[in-house]
Structure formats: C-alpha cells, structure tokens
Symmetry: C2
Subunit: 418 residues, 2 copies
Amino acid sequence: MSLQEQIHSIATRARTASDRLAELGAREKDAWLLRCADRLEAEREEILRENERDLEEARVKGVAEPLLNRLALSEGKWNDMIAGLRDVAKLPDPVGGIEDSRLRPNGLRVGRMRIPLGVIGMIYESRPNVTVDAAALCIKAGNSVILRGGSEAIHSNLALARELRAAAIETGIPEDAISVVPVTDRKAIVHMLKESRNIDLIIPRGGSGLIRMVTENSQIPVISHDAGVCHIFIDASADADMARSIVIDSKLRQMAVCNGLETLLVHRDTAGTVMPSVLKALYEEGVEIRGDETVCQIFGDAKPATDEDWAKEYLAPLLAVRVVDDMDAAIAHIRRWGTNHTEVIVTESERNAQAFLRRVNSSTVGVNCSTAFSDGYRLGLGAEIGVSTSKLHAYGPMGLEELTTRKFVLQGDGQLRE
Amino acid sequence: MSLQEQIHSIATRARTASDRLAELGAREKDAWLLRCADRLEAEREEILRENERDLEEARVKGVAEPLLNRLALSEGKWNDMIAGLRDVAKLPDPVGGIEDSRLRPNGLRVGRMRIPLGVIGMIYESRPNVTVDAAALCIKAGNSVILRGGSEAIHSNLALARELRAAAIETGIPEDAISVVPVTDRKAIVHMLKESRNIDLIIPRGGSGLIRMVTENSQIPVISHDAGVCHIFIDASADADMARSIVIDSKLRQMAVCNGLETLLVHRDTAGTVMPSVLKALYEEGVEIRGDETVCQIFGDAKPATDEDWAKEYLAPLLAVRVVDDMDAAIAHIRRWGTNHTEVIVTESERNAQAFLRRVNSSTVGVNCSTAFSDGYRLGLGAEIGVSTSKLHAYGPMGLEELTTRKFVLQGDGQLRE
C-alpha cells in the first residue's frame, strides 16, 4: 500500500466511524473517557518506556533542550493528561440540543441542532500529551480524530493511541474514531490535506513554519492557532498600581505562551509617571526592554527597538515598548503589528474602555485585566483545544462547542412553498 | 502595474476600508443601501446599455440561451435587486451586540461581541445582480467586499459598481469597501486566493468547476455553495396526499435551484400504494423517472437508473427513484450519495421523524415539508447570501449573521491570573 493509499484508508475509516459516533450519546463517550484514564494509568510504565525511547533517539540526534522538555511526559504533564480525561467526561455533551427554535407564520417549526463536525485532523509537533488532550475533546464533541504528531514523538503517540483505541473497543466507541498516522514521513501531511471528502477540519498547532505549510497546502478548512503578539495599552487615566500588576502578570506569569504580553503601548501622558516604575519592575525580574526613542530617553536601561521587535512573538524575557500620542495611535499600532490574538487597555475612563472594546477586533479584547485570561478554561469554556487567530468558525479560545456545527431542523405538517 | 500588484492593491485598500467600515453604525450603512437603490434607479438606462453590451458580445461568441438568461438584467431581476437593497436596509444591524455575557468567579465579566469578518471575496459567474445583492449583505454586516464576477458580465458589473461606490462617497462609507476586479483574466482569481493577509473569507458561487478550482487554490478560508442532491424519503406511514404534494412542490416549483428534489426514496411498504400516484403526477408534468428495478417493475414509464443518477444534481425535469427496505437504508443512501444539502422525511411516525432529524446530518433536515424551505428568507434569516454545504462557520442557508464572527470581550477591575 502506498503512503497515499494508507492515509486514504485511515481517512475513510475515520469517516465511517464518525457516522456511528455521531449517533452515540454522552453515556458511551464519557465511559470511553474514563476508561482511557484507567487504561493509561494501568499502562503507565510501558508508555513511559516508549516515551524514553523517543527521548533517547532525540538526544542521539542532538535535539535542543526546550524540545526535549516538550517531548518528555513528565509527572506533572502525565497527571494533567489523566485529570483532563476525567474533567472532559464531566462536561455537558455539546451535541444534540436545539437552539433558536421558532415558529414560522406558516406553522413550520425551524430550529438549529448542534451536531459534530465529522472528522478532525490534528497536526501538531512534539508534545505527546496533545494526542490524548485532543482526542478527548474531539470524541466528546462526537468527532473522529486523525492525529499526526511530530515524528520525534512517534513511539509515545503510538503507545498512547493503542490505549485510546483499546478503550474504544471496551466501551462501544468505533475504534477507527481515533487514529494516529503511523508514519513519520512529512508527505503524510500533504496526503492528509487532500482528503477533503473524508476530513472536515484541520487544526495545526505548532510553529509558524508548520502552520504556513498546512495553510498553503490544505484543501480542507483550516483553523490556525498562530502566533500571539499581544499588546497592553496604558491609557492616560490608568491607575499606576493596576497597570504595573497587570503588565507583570501578563509578561512574567509564563513566558512561552501565546497569551503572554509582547508589546507595551504607553500613553504619552503617563510615560514619565507610570511607565518608569512598570519597566523597572520588569527589568529587575530580568526582562530586556526594547523601546522607541522616548522610552530609551526615559528609561536608561532600554535598548532601541526596530520594526522587527513590533512584529515579534518573543516568548522570552524581552518586551517591546512604545510611547503613543493617544488611543487612536495605540489602535493603529495594534492593527499594523498585531496578530488578532489578545489586547488589553488599562484605563479609568469608561468611555475609552468601551471605545477600545468596540474598535479593536482581535479575538480577545480586555479592559483592566491580565492578557493571561485569554484561555478557554479561564473564560469558562470548560476546555480548550487551542486559540484560533482566524476569524472563520471559531475566533479566540476554542472549546467543545467550537468542535461542532449546527444544522437546520424543520418540523412541519405538510407545508409547501408553492 | 502587474496583475498581481493590481489585485494586491485592491485587497490592501479593501482591508484599510474595512477597519473604518467596522466602526460605522447602522445609520451610515443603511443610508448607503438606500442611496444605492436611488442611484441605480436613476442610472438604470445607462446600466442596461452596458448589460446589452455584455449580451451582444456573448451572442457573438455563440453563448447558449440559459447563460444569456442568467446574464440579462430583466425587468423582474432589476426590480428584485432594487427591492433587495431597501429590504436589507430594514434588517437589524448584526454587528455590535454582546452575547453570552457572564460574570466569572473572580469578578471578570466575559462576553462575546459580534464583529464583521473583515474583507470578503465573492467569486461568481454570469449573474450581474449578484454584484449588488452580495455587496448589500457584505456592507450591512460591516465587511469590505471584493467582487469577481464572470468575464461575460464585466461591463454590467463595472457599471453597477460605479454606482455603489458613488453612493459610498455620498454617505460616508469608504468607497474601497466595494470593488469589482476590473480584469477578466482568470489569473486574477488565483492572485485573489493568495491575499490571505487582506481577505478573510472567499465565497465561490457557481458550477462545480469553479468551486473545485477555488477550493484547490485558496489560501484563504472558503465557504462553498456546492451542488444540492436533495432527497425525500417516503416512510411506511406517510400520508399519501401529503407525500404527493410535498414531492410535487419540491420537484416542480423551480427546477434549476439547489434546494430542488433530485432523488426520491420510497419505503418498500408504500412502493405499491403511495409511489405510483406520486410518480404518475410528476410524469404527467413532463418529469422523466429513472428508477431502480422495483420502480421500473411498478411504474412502466420509468427508465433504469445507474449510479450516476444517484450522484447527479439534475436541475432539470428528471427524478431518480429508489425503493428501500427501511429508514436505515434510506439514511445509508443519503450518506453515500448526498451532498449535505437538504433531506426530508414524510412520515406519520413521530419516532421516525425524530430519528431522521437526529441521524441525518445534512445542513437542512426536515419532516413533512417541502425541500424548498431550505432558503434563508423562508427560514427567517431575513436575507441569504447562499447555501453552505461545508460545515465550518456556516452550514446551510447563510444570512447576515453568518457574515460576522465573535470576539471575546473581557471587563475587569484589575484581575490577575497569577
């Protein structure tokens, strides 16, 4: 069987499984989730052995430390993964409810029923826990999932998938609803991206190279989880203490996350008052400041920023800082350099708060809070499969509901259009 | 300027215009819609002259009659187009409202605000009235629109767009929010499909060749309006009169529409009772019947159907008919041959009605009503830009709301994640 045939066969079986899966209720899906948690716990040693194999091969190849960290199923990650399965089982089933039901003048009842998307293709990089997290959410929403993780995690992913599929057989879920592409050849991705009859959605998670490659080659709809160049704008009326604590939380809580602060915009009126103490606090925590001319004049430890700094998702102890004349200039900067992820204004002016919320059309826009709230759990979605920066279907943190769609359901007693 | 630069310049200007447009309220957008109606009425003669030029060139090229009909701005189409502008002005503004607002335990208020998608690229074929209909809906939803109609309609489209842009200047709408690609070279489409920084959504409307070409080449999300192979299933318990009138309405009301009936599935128990009278009524109205073996045995005027008939969107006085053993077989047929458009069951069994509604995941699923209700106006959306057969973002008839997306809005008083 050629690689193309192999991928086509996985995709066709996933499609058939999705028809059966869509008809199952919460009971079967939740039983599967709990069974997966139990099976993984029982097979933990064996799975960690496979993970060690991946790590060993990666070390031999001289892979860098951060990638090794992502690849390793540490105790913390393992426990989160198991807890995640049990948490998702507790969430309400997103499928089957009828919304927006209304009676038309001719007596026809029209509503919209939430249904699974069908088959979801996940394309991701080194973290093997994504295999379990993504499968849990896709299946709970009634979708088959085809998982294509990084080649460096192949042994871990196959070991995890073996348990997920075995749990399916035990709980009446079609096992082909969960599959891991068993080949590491990158061409497998290209074949996947052409299976538009059998796959309804592709979700790429990873670096910009992966996302570009997927977007450019896919004949299937893609929801990208792209970079987050997130901004905070300190307005003229900002409370100094609040501004400082929000900036610190947004930048320092976690560096290597897409909802972390990357560029700080400061209203000219506060450049001499609020800004220095904010920058000093960050600088003392080891954050390098790259500023425009005004910033460098006021804060001696800043280095000059270039256009590259405005465009950069650092994910590191670096912060770009710019002084702007007013909110219009801040919004113009965000439109020019932002990535539609998360932007926050710190202000005591209700008028400016409302204007900022209306005028900035990034996927998450906030007033007087940390950028770190741009997260499915924190926003109350119950779960998160990622953060979409493309506007179609899901914009911002994606939960279970975003893994479904709605069909129109019509109930009549003989209505004709005539 | 090369063709690519020309398209890039249109797309960049549309993006800039969309930022301004997104901040305008219903008042400006509705004023523009009404002004367009007035201007088009005032310039009617001139526009029809340009339409006559297109028709003349098409006749010289020996273009077929149905295409000439689609190309012609007949009096009926003209009046619908003008009335459409005024109707859209009366619809509520889909933009700006906050939905799903809730207070999180930490006091952070989280909601979702409806916002425009940004820039929409419409790629369509010969009907010049689509230029006006699509622009009206896109602008009302706060989006810039780039219109790429068929080359055979170029003079009509440019004449119409001239008035739409002039009306923009008069009512404070950025004129670059509406543009017609002024070149007929098909390569213009390929360049459009690469403008992923500036265009947020591509909507192709037309034959399957156009849709395939767009889907295969686009780096921008696409919502396809693909063929409708619509089914009616006459269940064992169906009321004979209701079945006959629903089938007749679904097939005969209008043939060349995507929500028309193409395949009739008949429960074996009714093949000898309900079916003959239904088929006779259609046959007498000039519909050719293509049936499976049982159908041909029972209804002498039927011709044998092949697999091609099950897959075909006839849009013509032809009907494929199959006798099935039960509802499971009907659903299996729909899954195998349907196009996720519209399927209807005629039944007196509430149990089967509910099972059909749940199990068939086409974009519109109905009980005891005509397939012709699968239409944005009839379902109460107020307007329709098309019928999506792809599951992402919009599934089924698309109205104004489907031309928008939602961002998360967070209102706090200093909340940190910590």
